[in-house]
């Protein structure tokens, strides 16, 4: 494959205009002792046709989600994606553009980001949203160091009801800044709020709550909000699933200071974990805004008074502030944010609500039917959104493998995170009653065998 269009004759002309004889002369600045004197050991070049055969063969070694009935979630959710999303992002004026440094030739990207910021702020009930972060996990890391900077404190309450990988990322990001994490234990499928209350003091920089939490349950946000409010300095950070916010009260109404999360459920495919997008929204607070990482797009006007959009508040960012920047983030997940924007626009007010309620109701249906199986416990009870934590007498790995033989991916085996046992089962609007009934039957067989 080749994408160079200079012909040998054109190359000759260019070399002569430059004043050298051969292309290799242009590399004379590289000292001989480090100049590579042999070809790289890579496979031989191939044509487009051969490439498609090669990658199709690799793809055939995978089992994709059209070939299996998947109940996997745990941070990557398989929702319906309207057909128009891919058609629109394939408009190459979007996907082959760079960061909108020249605003006048980038109004499309800039306006789309402004719309994205607006809809994320609306969904979360917050004042301001940024243009995206790298993924939901790194957004947690960014939020932690933002809270440390803002409060000048270093204790962070981070319950075990938060995604284990997000916690690992938070510990990584917090490490060099002396963050001290208090990882509150679970009580059932919820955070032990007594332990949390005991730990919460005037040295606490932030309390992080996942909403719904990693195990699928919804925490008592009112109570949490009242507890955190008592500590003047402490920031309330909520990690929210944006689809759940079609049904759940926005974190802004509970006094959240920073809301972050994984934006993938908004019109982005599961894609083996990436590219996804992290989102971040904050209170409308100038002091907090100055600490916010990532790009922001603002509305302004041109010299003729016509409305237009620019990147703004850039003095927070690395290319201006260098070592004093709020983060090193430069490239974000702009195209994924565009997909989320088109998703939110297409689904709209009613659609996002319907996706949330269908996911919830179908999860409730499955939960009700599973509870009829002896030797199986749903830890959440009726407190769930679209994931439930199921404990079985038989080891989860065995249950998983028996359903797997029937082409059902029964859920995420929690033992891999080294803290809890069981399966985390996710149901989205894509499932039918028939799918769920089949799942129950297979589960009955697996457990009673």
């Amino acid at each position: 494959m080749k994408y160079i269009s200079n012909t040998p004759e054109e190359q000759e002309k260019m070399l002569s205009d430059i004043g050298v004889e051969e292309i290799t002369d242009l590399f004379s600045a590289i000292p001989d002792n480090i100049k590579l004197d042999k070809p790289l050991e890579l496979p031989e070049p191939i044509s487009e046709l051969e490439m498609m055969n090669l990658v199709n063969e690799r793809a055939s070694r995978n089992t994709d989600l059209t070939e299996a009935d998947s109940y996997l979630g745990a941070g990557a959710y398989d929702h319906y994606i309207p057909s128009i999303i891919d058609h629109m992002v394939l408009r190459s004026e979007f996907y082959t553009a760079y960061t909108p440094y020249q605003a006048e030739l980038s109004q499309g990207t800039l306006q789309a980001i402004y719309e994205y910021q607006s809809m994320i702020a609306e969904l979360t009930g917050m004042g301001i949203a940024n243009a995206s972060l790298l993924d939901g996990g790194s957004a947690v890391g960014e939020a932690v160091i933002m809270a440390l900077r803002h409060t000048r404190l270093n204790k962070v309450i981070m319950p075990k009801s938060i995604h284990p990988s997000y916690r690992e990322i938070a510990r990584t990001y917090g490490g060099p800044h002396d963050a001290k994490f208090d990882e509150i234990e679970l009580s059932g499928s919820l955070t032990d709020l007594d332990q949390l209350e005991e730990s919460l003091d005037d040295q606490t920089a932030a309390v992080i709550i996942q909403y719904p939490n990693f195990y699928g349950s919804v925490e008592d946000m009112k109570k949490l909000s009242e507890m955190i409010e008592k500590q003047k300095k402490t920031l309330f950070i909520v990690v929210a699933n944006p689809i759940a916010l079609g049904m759940l009260t926005p974190p802004g109404e509970f006094g959240a200071d920073i809301v972050i999360g994984e934006g993938q459920p908004l019109g982005n495919g599961v894609n083996y974990g990436g590219p996804y997008l992290g989102y971040m929204a904050i209170k409308d607070d100038r002091r907090l805004l100055r600490q916010m990482p990532g790009r922001l797009v603002g509305k302004t006007e041109d010299v003729e008074g016509q409305e237009g959009f620019v990147m703004t508040m850039q003095t927070r960012e690395q290319h201006i502030r260098r070592e004093k920047a709020t983060s090193n983030i430069c490239t974000n997940e702009s195209l994924n944010a565009l997909m989320a924007t088109i998703y939110m626009a297409t689904m709209g007010k009613k659609g996002i609500e319907e996706v949330a309620y269908q996911s919830f109701n179908k999860t409730r249906y499955l939960k009700g039917r599973l509870e009829g199986i002896s030797g199986l416990e749903v830890v959440n009870g009726d407190n769930h959104f679209h994931e439930i934590w199921v404990k079985t007498e038989k080891p989860a790995a065995e249950v998983f493998s028996e359903l797997y033989d029937k082409c059902i991916l029964a859920g995420v085996d929690l033992s891999q995170f080294g803290e809890e046992e069981g399966l985390l089962i996710c149901v989205t609007e894509k499932k039918t009653r028939e799918d769920l009934d089949k799942f129950v039957t297979a589960m009955e067989v697996a457990i009673n065998e």
Partner: protein
């Protein structure tokens, strides 16, 4: 010709989606969720039709400019053509529609591609091992410095400083801070390279690393690189390579052979994956063997012919992404490298360097060339001659837009006044380079003849020059 906001198309009751009817009982969540956690009113998102959405985003795309529209000479951004086959590969259902928690035996095809990509990157760079977890270049820098941090921690050494040249990209010092280091800046010499005396002065046993881009942001190859590496290593520090400018050296030189210890790649620059208007990118990190234990978790490896994720890595620097990184971007880079092979990569670099030197040879008449040293894939001009006539580099950049061409990176690197950093990449042809040259020559003439007109540019774009000061003073960040 403003396009209204999507919310302005909204009409109550209009729908742009369809879902199957709910086929199970509907339950009121308020009965079982904690008090106050169920919202009374759906979020106020637009209510629009599918046609509304399609026309709106089509209009927005028409107000945008991508590599497919024309030359995109942003220095250090490597805006090369993004092959269409990359997009096809990333969308093959068998590759795209897989879940990160599927058992590894179900995704061996994908893991084999990721593993091959790692081996290709290791070979191209002369490094021993590669992690694919970082999702962008800056994320890669962060992982790289955290690997270095972990290395010193396991050796029981405490070092607090990271040296960056004054020509470095802003992410370098910002990353140093995020990784808990103090960034120390050193000056470039009159040839635009690292000043060895400044470096010597800055080096001591408190320095963890030197971060370097080679060729640097002026497009100039740091010829003293071997001596620099020895100096840093002798002081007990490590050498970090910022891979932003890798397009200049493919098949010609390798950071590993220059004695760098850690580096990141920008798959969205060197390896042709699209920038998406600011992402997604992907920033894999390569290391020398002795740093392998400190790579992030999980680590992709294989036993016999089975690929798997290794989580048992006690000396790892930790984790920076919830899953495995920007997989979809890696599929595109795999396709690009596999399709080109060694000879193809060499041609890429040769033509990138040829194109840049051709532009430089032609443009240095009208614009000042502040550093005359040989440059590779990019070069930096100064608009100082034009500034003397009252027209700034910003004005020149905006005037370029009137000719429907994107502007170079401007006011960077910081060490050049009124700088224009130009990187055409190998995929521009002679015709488009000549057009760019002619346009800049025309603008230079216009500055003599009608400077006010240039100062008021752009004139033909969908909006004229936008008031950035107003945007920052009164932030309007949402509807």
């Amino acid at each position: 010709m403003n396009e209204p906001l999507i919310k302005d198309f909204s009409t109550p009751g209009r729908k742009g989606y369809s879902l199957p009817d709910l086929d199970v009982e509907s339950v009121d969540p308020k009965a079982s969720l904690p008090e106050g956690t169920v919202r009374d009113e759906a979020p106020d998102l637009p209510e629009v039709s599918e046609v509304d959405v399609v026309r709106h985003f089509t209009s927005l795309s028409e107000m945008n400019y991508g590599v497919d529209s024309g030359i995109y000479p942003l220095g250090s951004c490597t805006m090369k053509y993004n092959p269409k086959i990359n997009e096809d590969v990333a969308r093959i259902p068998g590759l795209a529609n897989i879940h990160p928690f599927q058992p590894v035996n179900e995704v061996q095809g994908s893991l084999s591609m990721l593993y091959d990509l790692k081996r290709y990157l290791a070979e191209i760079s002369g490094m021993d091992e590669v992690t694919i977890q970082p999702a962008s270049g800056a994320h890669g820098e962060y992982v790289g410095l955290m690997i270095i941090r972990k290395y010193f921690e396991t050796r029981g050494e405490k070092r607090h400083k990271v040296i960056v040249p004054d020509s470095a990209h802003g992410t370098n010092p910002a990353t140093a801070t995020m990784a808990g280091y103090e960034a120390v800046e050193i000056e470039s010499n009159e040839r635009g390279m690292v000043d060895l005396d400044s470096l010597r002065e800055a080096l001591d046993d408190d320095v963890a690393a030197l971060m370097l881009t080679n060729p640097n942001t002026l497009g100039i190859f740091e010829q003293d690189i071997c001596e620099i590496a020895d100096m840093v290593h002798d002081a007990g520090g490590l050498l970090y390579y910022d891979g932003a400018n890798m397009n200049a050296i493919l098949s010609y030189a390798r950071p590993g052979d220059m004695n760098f210890d850690v580096m990141h790649f920008n798959l969205h620059k060197t390896f042709s994956t699209p920038h998406g208007g600011g992402g997604p990118g992907s920033g894999p990190v390569g290391v020398k063997r002795f740093l392998t234990p400190h790579l992030p978790k999980p680590f992709l490896t294989k036993k016999d012919d089975d690929y798997f994720w290794d989580y048992d890595r006690p000396d790892s620097m930790g984790r920076v992404h919830a899953f495995y990184g920007n997989y979809g971007v890696m599929l595109r880079a795999f396709t690009y490298i596999r399709g080109h092979g060694s000879s193809g990569l060499k041609e890429i670099t040769e033509n990138a360097v040829l194109n840049a030197n051709y532009l430089k040879a032609k443009l240095k008449n009208d614009y000042e060339l502040p550093f005359s040293a040989d440059s590779l894939h990019e070069f930096v001009l100064s608009g100082s001659k034009q500034k003397a006539k009252g027209v700034t580099t910003l004005n020149i950049a905006k005037r370029l837009l009137d000719y429907d061409q994107y502007a170079p990176t401007i006011y960077f690197p910081l060490i050049v006044k009124e700088s224009m950093m130009i990187e055409p990449t190998e995929t521009e042809n002679l015709r488009s380079l000549d057009r760019f040259i002619e346009t800049l020559e025309t603008i230079s003439r216009e500055i003599d003849e009608d400077p006010e007109m240039v100062k008021n540019a752009p004139h033909t774009t969908v909006v004229r020059k936008l008031d950035e000061a107003k945007a920052a003073r009164n932030p309007d960040l949402r509807w």
